[in-house]
């Protein structure tokens, strides 16, 4: 489990493709997202994904700035999109 970098819990955005598709009603992995901090552009599927947490956090591959946060509670889903270009989530 442990890697030298210590970032052992990181996946990529493709790992949360299903959750994103549920929220947006469409595949989001090929949509472009631009980091609001450093301007790096990635496909959503290529972002860093932290999933072993109270929610899902997608981060910039260059500077690790938070680009998307998703929290699913028993009653509703909360989505916060900080990335540019990527559409805000439809009302959930």
């Amino acid at each position: 489990m442990t890697e030298a970098k210590g970032d052992d819990l990181v996946l990529d955005g493709n790992a949360v493709a299903g959750t994103l598709a549920e929220i947006y009603g469409d595949d989001m992995t090929t949509v472009l997202a631009e980091c609001a901090n450093c301007g790096k552009v990635d496909h959503v599927g290529g972002l860093l994904a932290y999933v072993r947490a109270p929610g899902i956090v997608l981060r910039c591959t260059a500077c690790q700035t938070v680009m998307v946060r998703i929290v699913q509670t028993p009653n509703r889903t909360f989505v916060d999109v900080r990335a540019k270009r990527m559409p805000a989530a439809p009302r959930t």
């Binding site: 442990t2 970098k5 210590g6 970032d7 052992d8 819990l9 990181v10 860093l48 932290y50 072993r52 947490a53 109270p54 929610g55 956090v57 981060r59 690790q64 938070v66 946060r69 929290v71 509670t73 028993p74 009653n75 509703r76 909360f78 916060d80």
Partner: protein
């Protein structure tokens, strides 16, 4: 007595005896189960949760700061922080992802000791803990004082590992563990409450495991 769903090894606390056994050393069984908040299950390992890369701030560059509504901000280097009066703490902790770990052993500095070093403004009412990596969490000031929280730098007799929040993390054992900010670098004292990283996106602002305050609106 019922068995907790999907567990089998820990029984659900009898509501009439449960709280009376908190803190007492009892063999596994109903007394131990009485220390497990509703909806939680017991774990023996220490699960690692992380919403971002593990920060690796060198100790020479580390500092801990108290700022905001204080007459003069206070700041300690790592060396100075280790010179503060430390205590051992044995606490049960509960994560909102539904695990509870009993009798976790920590060493660190009580937030009471840290706050003795500053003069709080009369308006001071809330605290935002801030961490390397940008994480924040909010706690009402009255819930951090009087022995209720500490900044830990040892776990189980060893330096606190980075994946568990080392070199130092806030520990607020009576609230869900997301309030116990890993990689903590300071406390910002404020007049108004400001929801933190998870509190601003669906998680409960307060987070008392015994009241099952998991989500916004609980």
């Amino acid at each position: 007595m019922m068995l907790a769903r999907g567990l089998g090894f820990c029984s659900v606390p009898d509501p009439f005896v449960a709280r009376g056994f908190v803190g007492r050393r009892e063999p596994a069984g109903s007394a131990q189960a009485g220390r497990i908040p509703p909806g939680q299950h017991l774990v023996k390992d220490f699960p690692v949760l992380s919403a971002g890369p593990t920060p690796r701030t060198p100790l020479q560059k580390w500092s801990f700061r108290i700022e905001g509504l204080v007459k003069e901000p206070a700041s300690w280097s790592w060396t100075d922080f280790l010179k503060l009066p430390a205590q051992d703490f044995v606490k049960d902790i509960s994560c909102v992802t539904k695990w509870t770990k009993l009798d976790t052993r920590w060493r660190g500095v009580s937030v009471d000791v840290l706050l003795e070093q500053v003069e709080l403004d009369r308006r001071a009412a809330f605290v935002t803990a801030f961490s390397d990596g940008g994480y924040t969490t909010n706690v009402p000031l009255p819930e951090l004082i009087n022995g209720q929280s500490f900044v830990a730098y040892e776990y189980d007799g060893k330096p606190l590992a980075p994946e568990h929040g080392g070199p130092a993390r806030l520990v607020v054992p009576h609230l869900y563990f997301w309030k116990s900010a890993k990689w903590v670098r300071g406390l910002r004292v404020m007049e108004r409450d400001e929801p933190g990283f998870w509190e601003s996106l669906g998680y409960n602002n307060h987070g008392d495991p015994w009241k099952e305050e998991r989500y916004t609106g609980d």
